[in-house]
């Protein structure tokens, strides 16, 4: 399948927005420090950009409101979950800015966590289609969650540097968490490659095609290797210089972009024609 670029960027931006919000909330449970409300505004912007980009993928975007109609469709659930998530994120951001009472902030946090995690899960499951052998695995769900975690942490550390706002707390602990996430992503990536080799010859062929192969290695280098090494350096020197956090985040984002492109390229259709087995009296064999 040709990469659907609006969806490539949309899912990345949605994961970035949710990832940053979730990281910010989890850190706030452990570290008593003022929360950068501008960062939570950024995550809202990121999520809205993702939604708008996914709407540009539609043939008739003006009929967008029709997407809430079918409760048995995960795509409808993606549309249903997004507005309350945005409401909770906005409420939380306003709470940080206007110093809402703790109980209201807690409601905002719980709502954001619940809807954020649900949205990532539903978005991953949207791709779980029997008609595309490359997508017929729960590895996709793991990959979505792990990449959202890594992107959230690296974005949480890197984006304030880009925005020129105070650096958020919880640095070195989060760096360790991000490194574990990067290793997990690498393992899932290798398993996914193995899965493709087993389930679909055409999907694996698409992965081994020259451009896709290059993108796969770029994902390993930029999406995993560079952020891992830079995070390791930060851990060794026990501080996170601006350059390191910004470079880690940008490198991971570009790498994840390549991964998403590959993700569409390997989604070849199911082979439906039975093959002829000449060795066994011309019997046909169902794929």
């Amino acid at each position: 399948m040709n990469p659907q670029y609006p969806l490539v960027f949309a899912t990345l931006l949605m994961r970035l927005g949710v990832g940053i919000s979730v990281t910010q909330i989890l850190v706030s449970f452990f570290v008593e420090a003022p929360v950068a409300w501008s960062l939570s505004l950024f995550s809202i912007g990121s999520l809205i950009s993702g939604v708008l980009l996914s709407a540009t993928h539609l043939g008739r975007p003006v009929r967008f409101m029709n997407s809430f109609s079918n409760l048995s469709s995960l795509l409808s659930w993606e549309a249903i979950l997004t507005p309350p998530l945005l409401i909770f994120m906005s409420f939380l951001s306003a709470g940080y800015y206007f110093n809402y009472p703790q109980i209201l902030i807690l409601i905002g946090k719980i709502g954001t966590l619940a809807f954020g995690v649900s949205l990532i899960y539903v978005t991953a499951k949207v791709y779980h289609l029997k008609a595309r052998p490359a997508w017929g695995t729960s590895l996709i769900v793991y990959e979505f969650f792990i990449s959202a975690l890594c992107m959230g942490i690296l974005g949480y550390l890197g984006i304030p540097q880009l925005m020129g706002v105070p650096v958020s707390p919880g640095g070195l602990f989060l760096i360790v968490l991000a490194m574990i996430g990067l290793v997990a992503e690498f393992v899932v990536g290798l398993y996914y490659r193995r899965y493709l080799r087993i389930v679909s010859a055409t999907a694996f062929e698409a992965l081994r095609e020259k451009a896709a192969s290059l993108q796969f290695y770029l994902w390993i280098i930029l999406g995993l290797g560079v952020p891992f090494v830079l995070s390791g350096v930060a851990l060794i020197i026990r501080e996170i210089p601006a350059f390191l956090s910004v470079a880690s985040f940008l490198s991971f984002f570009v790498g994840a972009l390549f991964w998403r492109i590959i993700f569409f390229k390997v989604a070849t259709p199911l082979k439906i024609t039975p093959t002829i087995d000449m060795a066994h009296d011309q019997r046909i064999v169902f794929p």
Binding site: G59, F64, S69, S76, A131, I272, Q282, I284
Partner: protein, 208 residues
């Protein structure tokens, strides 16, 4: 009475009936010559733009070495599944099954997300570049409602395609399935979508 007249008589008889119908197709691979007349007639009937098709013919093979060589054609259109994945995943409910078991698209509801195209295991759907919505074979419902056959059936050069009510045990399609149980197969049955297009294998070929 030849086979075609029987089929037309079936449809005419069915058009007036109130009983629930389940339209389906039987394609005899023994008779398919791979001429692609079905694709051309379908394009004419539905004014389908270049590069896409409701109805297409796959070619498997040739395999083997002379003189032991084998090949077959597999015409495909929408399988009109009874449990269609495309209907389940459509977020707008634009895809639906009508009372006669034909899977249709409400063009006023579809917003062209193309999710059904990804989800259909038979590649039966396409994105119409002009209308910006998804389209698919509708078994020529406008003709069937008048008691006529779909255009691909009428124009099949090898007379390999048969269309009718699978709920009617007297219909030609039902009788063909009863009489050829050793040759009948459906594509990708394990997906449990209950496709309503049945194929009859070429006589010298057997299912492994």
């Amino acid at each position: 009475m030849n086979k075609r007249s029987v089929m037309v008589a079936d449809l005419e008889r069915g058009a007036g009936k109130v009983a629930k119908k389940k339209y389906g197709m039987v394609i005899d691979l023994e008779k398919c010559t791979g001429c692609r007349g079905c694709s051309v007639s379908c394009k004419n009937e539905h004014e389908i733009p270049p590069g896409v098709n409701f109805c297409w013919v796959y070619q498997e093979g040739p395999v083997g070495t002379y003189p032991k060589v084998s090949m077959y054609y597999l015409p495909r259109a929408c399988m009109q599944c009874s449990e269609p994945i495309c209907v389940k995943v459509c977020p707008t409910k634009a895809s639906y099954i009508n009372e006669d078991g034909i899977v249709l698209i409400d063009e006023d509801l579809c917003f062209g997300c193309q999710y059904c195209i990804w989800a259909c295991p038979y590649e039966a759907r396409f994105f119409h570049p002009g209308k910006k919505i998804v389209q698919k074979c509708n078994s020529c419902i406008h003709l069937v409602a008048m008691g006529k056959e779909p255009n691909c059936v009428v124009n099949c050069q090898g007379k390999a395609r048969f269309f009718g009510d699978l709920n009617d045990p007297e219909s030609q399609v039902s009788r063909m399935l009863d009489q050829n149980t050793d040759r009948v197969f459906r594509v990708k049955e394990e997906l449990k979508v209950d496709p309503q297009v049945y194929y009859l294998l070429a006589k010298k070929v057997k299912i492994k």
